[in-house]
Amino acid sequence: MERSIIHINVADFAVAVERVLDRRLDSRPVIVAPEGATRAAVLDMSEEAFQAGVRKHMPLNRALRRCRDARVLPPRPDRYGQAMARMLKSAMPCSPLIEPGEGDGHLFVDVTGSSRLLGPPVDVAWRLSRRIRRDIGLVPIWSVATSKLIAKIATRLVKPLGEYIVDPGDEAAFLAPLPLFLVPGIEPDDFARLNDLNMIRVFQAAMLSTDQMETLFGHRGRFIHDRLHGIDPSPVRPVDDPPPRVVECEEFGDDTNDHSQMERSLYRLVEQAGRQLRHQALAARRVALVLDHTDGVRRIRQVTAAPATANDFTLFTHARRVLNLAWTRRVRLRRMTLVCDRLTYPPAQRLLFEPERRMAERQDRLVATMDRIRQRFGTDALAMGRMLAA
């Protein structure tokens, strides 16, 4: 069945919420950045500040040199969370399939098959945007398309204000002239590689076959190929059914950039996540790490775990690889979050080569034994040597 996906996007969400709370901020440049940090970075900015050259993650000092009359506000995630909750409430009458972003002003609403009850999807989208404006005071961008991917690109095109309806069947023509960086899922490295081939627009890269894409990007080739052709079958998840994943977080009492401390903390998170996975008899196919720096900059990186795993040792190998990818700044870290997702049942297929298989089986037995000991005598009954401070 042809899908009808609405994407609601409140541009510059943090600033938009602050403006609802204080109308004196209207039409003047506003920057949201943490207070007190020596090298604070911009988390969000208003359109006026953007026009003056301010960008996300830019050091606040430089941002203020570019936009001297900007009002700087500290981030208030609780307020943004409340605003998201109210947006969600406004959308509830439209569909049970509503997928909110994480405090960022984004909502996907799947209204497929509801036109007899609610009317045409485009009318539902317009009424929803009007309701959000009336109830909360936020002015969202909205789009209607046949997939989350196309709907999201469409709202990006009309930012900071407007709407975009992509007719079914019009996806390829819609995507063709766009610059590659507008397509979600195309990472900067992918973009650079395509740029090396003088490909900067979608229609140029879309001419490459799946095989050619796999030659260029390995296992990501098919994914990138599909994205460039507007193929995105990912569902809009029900609002009360977040994607299954295991999330573990550690906030450092004192911000740190000590490597050994980071590895100890990471291993602790891996142990906690691994225990949860094994308890649920699941395994993760992807390991991601979110690093929050003292200055407010957030770095997110992820790697694929193939085959899927719930073993602490394998998970840690993946997690350490992600840490190396994500931790490229000298600025201290305030918080580290480990996310294990794309959960599946543990693979039944045994490893092909004898030495690897024996090693994996020994590790599995060891982890299972540790789980049993901890279950009987408590979590602290057993600790890995790497967890002991030097």
Partner: protein, 271 residues
């Protein structure tokens, strides 16, 4: 089913307001499994004209409009609604730029000769007062050269001075068939432009009209007798005063619009 030609001296084109309704598949108008991208081609085999609704929600974009018109035969015709930023959600300073954008967006239909009308549908809260009269005058000036049709939703505009002003500008008044409600513009068979008359059948669902839900507002099935009130006297009379007439059914719920449009086409053919 092939499109039917009317036998009337003036060209009368009957169609529906919008065509891309998935519920029309369930209603049997479109064959099972028809996707939105194939609806216009199918629709054009039955009706010679449609009223594009989505241009009310979104400022038309020339490439998308051009792709849409290519899905229909060259002799198929379009009427396009004016965007809401020029009728319902008007920014006092920004609207002239919106009018320019609209002209640019709709240009492929103008260039191909397929645009029969631009419908300026004004909201119920747009009453006749000096401020709104001035705005409407400036809006019609800004859109001059386009085949304009004005639909009022408030009864305060139903006076001779308004009709005379439209006539002086050769702007068509949209005649409407709707529920009889206080303050709603009445169903008049009025021709203000010798080139074109324009009728919209909204359905007579008085209970649902102000419900805030399109599915209730436009849920109505016309009877033969109700349509005959128009086909026997009003439409022939209007036909004598204008060269072309366009008639749209807006009661899209459950496929009632195409059903009633066919009924009216048959009545007009019989007369």
């Amino acid at each position: 089913m092939q499109r039917k030609e009317t036998q009337n001296p003036a060209q009368i084109l009957v169609g529906t307001s919008g065509y891309a309704y998935s519920e029309w598949v369930d209603a049997g108008f479109y064959p099972p499994g028809t996707g939105s991208d194939r609806m216009l081609a199918h629709y054009a085999r039955i009706f010679p004209v449609t009223e594009i609704n989505y241009t009310w929600y979104q400022m038309p974009k020339a490439p998308a409009i051009d792709r849409m018109r290519r899905k229909a035969p060259e002799d198929f015709r379009f009427a396009a609604k004016l965007t809401r930023t020029l009728t319902h959600e008007v920014d006092a300073n920004g609207w002239p730029a919106q009018a320019v954008l609209y002209r640019e967006g709709i240009a492929p239909l103008v260039q191909s000769g397929q645009l029969l009308a631009v419908l300026v549908q004004l909201p119920p809260f747009f009453r006749r007062n000096p401020e709104n009269r001035s705005y409407l005058s400036r809006l019609l000036d800004a859109l001059s050269g386009l085949p304009l049709v004005v639909e009022f939703r408030h009864a305060s505009w139903a006076i001779d001075r308004v009709f005379a002003a439209l006539e002086a500008r050769r702007v068509t008044l949209a005649c409407v068939d709707g529920p009889e409600l206080k303050d709603l513009f009445p169903p008049l068979a009025m021709v203000t432009n010798p080139d074109l008359f324009y009728i919209r059948f909204h359905g007579r669902n008085a209970a649902g009209w102000r419900s805030g839900s399109m599915q209730k507002q436009f849920d109505y099935d016309y009877s033969d007798d109700e349509l005959a009130q128009w086909s026997r006297s009003r439409i022939p009379e209007m036909t004598r005063q204008a060269g072309t007439g366009i008639i749209f059914f807006n009661n899209h719920v459950r496929g009632q619009a195409p059903k009633n449009a066919r009924m009216l086409m048959e009545q007009l053919t019989e007369n």
